[in-house]
């Protein structure tokens, strides 16, 4: 179902910089919609290092990626930004009236005079094992996620990986699979211990198989997998029959469709000016790790500064006939009203 939205600013990416952009835009009465491929806010902070402490956020001597995200969400709450999670931006089109329309893979359409790309290192996507020809099997017999378990009933499934996804799906799919084999490069797992114990029990009962091995090659025809070549740590290889392969090696960042937005990328980064953080395409801004300029530092605090300057420039595009009044949150009662504290 397609959803058409009109707003002031469309933000690509709900990491810390996209979130703080909502704050700076909100002080200027600009409304924002955010799109993120992940199912929650925080970007890298919550996906890669939710528990790792960050020490260089001004005023917060120590804060974890998750806490920083939670605090930013609290800080922007008064501004009522709307989030479109688990959606990937797929298209960007310029309208005759000068505005832009962003389209997502869920057919959300956001039309706004200003687009802010705060996409960090790109979209988080599943890691694809470096096995020759794997892409020809994807979507037919190789899957990086399980959307409908029923799809895997009576299949001969091979799962690879040692994290929670690999173990959880081993446990969940074992009862309905015809056969299920788990392979991992070592006889140890980073997954939750109780899942590992359950998996070992199933293996002892002969309900699944577990091998310390890696997948070296895929065999099949027309995208339908028939077997794989497995290799153990001593490089001894053997053939293993299976019709479904589920590799679970977590997520990595890929630039994705942003690469096709005509933003004149330099080594996958968007060049911007340092007065407005606008790209070479008027109306399209880039802030945070995704942009590049002389002296750029990939720090969260730099992204916050970039968001503040971007918001000033965005105001002039969204409200061409209004005068921008520069105010401080400490003294301005109108800003305090917006923040819900006055």
């Amino acid at each position: 179902m397609s959803t058409a939205i009109e707003t002031d600013v469309a933000i690509v990416g709900a990491g810390p910089i996209g979130l703080f952009a909502v704050f700076e835009l909100g002080l200027l009465d600009l409304k924002a919609h955010l799109v993120d491929i992940l199912d929650r806010p925080g970007g890298q902070c919550t996906e890669l290092y939710p528990e790792k402490p960050i020490y260089d956020i001004p005023g917060l001597p120590i804060v974890t990626g998750q806490e920083l995200t939670d605090r930013l969400m609290e800080q922007i709450k008064p501004f009522g930004a709307e989030f479109h999670f688990s959606e990937m931006v797929t298209g960007l089109e310029k309208l005759d009236d000068g505005r832009w329309t962003l389209t997502t893979d869920n057919e959300t359409q956001i039309t706004a005079p200003v687009v802010v790309v705060a996409a960090g290192g790109g979209s988080f996507m599943p890691k694809r094992p470096p096995i020759a020809g794997i892409e020809t099997y994807e979507g037919k017999s190789v899957f990086y996620a399980v959307r409908k378990m029923e799809q895997f009933r009576d299949k001969n499934i091979l799962i690879a990986g040692g994290g929670d996804s690999a173990l959880d799906w081993t446990l969940n799919l074992a009862p309905l699979a015809k056969s299920l084999t788990l392979v991992h490069h070592r006889d140890g797992f980073r997954a939750a211990q109780h899942s590992v114990n359950q998996m070992r029990e199933l293996a002892e009962q002969g309900k699944i198989k577990f091998h310390v091995a890696s997948v070296k090659a895929l065999h099949g025809e027309g995208g339908q997998l028939e077997a794989v070549t497995l290799a153990d740590r001593d490089k001894k290889e053997w053939r293993h029959d299976c019709d479904t392969f589920l590799p679970f090696f977590g997520l990595t960042m890929k630039l994705g469709p942003i690469a096709n937005f005509g933003l004149n990328l330099h080594e996958n980064l968007i060049p911007v000016d340092t007065a407005k953080f606008e790209s070479e395409t008027p109306g399209i801004f880039a802030i945070g790790d995704i942009n590049t300029y002389a002296g750029k530092l990939k720090l969260i605090l730099s992204g916050f500064h970039e968001a503040a300057l971007m918001a000033q420039a965005a105001f002039h595009i969204c409200r061409p006939n209004e005068k921008l009044r520069f105010q401080y949150t400490t003294s301005s009662s109108s800003l305090q009203k917006k923040l819900g504290v006055a």
């Binding site: 094992p129 470096p130 797992f189 980073r190 090696f249």
Partner: protein, 102 residues
């Protein structure tokens, strides 16, 4: 100290290590195509290298955090390490590493 790094095309690079820097930082500064997307926090497994020619056994053993994170790396071999967890030191002069496939 020297680091001998082989890139994904099989080309060898002789790099100057700096005491106290991580091997990942030296590889990145030499513009070798290593992603290191978490910036050295042992949180992403995108600085994965193979440690060659017996150098693996001369390294301090991986921490539990590194062993866990290697579970998220692709094409892991018995000589796999995360280069952000390897610190340059005089006793590693001449260490040989190969960038793992992406």
């Amino acid at each position: 100290m020297k680091i001998i790094a082989t890139d994904r095309d099989g080309k060898e690079h002789e790099l100057e290590g700096r005491d106290g820097w991580t091997v990942m930082e030296i590889l990145r500064d030499a513009d070798l195509p290593i992603v290191a997307e978490c910036g050295g926090a042992c949180a992403c497994a995108t600085c994965h290298v193979y440690v060659e020619d017996g150098w693996y056994d001369k390294l301090p053993a991986p921490s539990d955090a590194e062993t866990d994170m290697l579970d998220m790396a692709l094409a892991v071999e018995p000589n796999s390490r995360l280069s952000c967890q390897l610190t340059c030191a005089p006793e590693l002069d001449g260490i040989k590493v190969t960038l793992a496939p992406e």
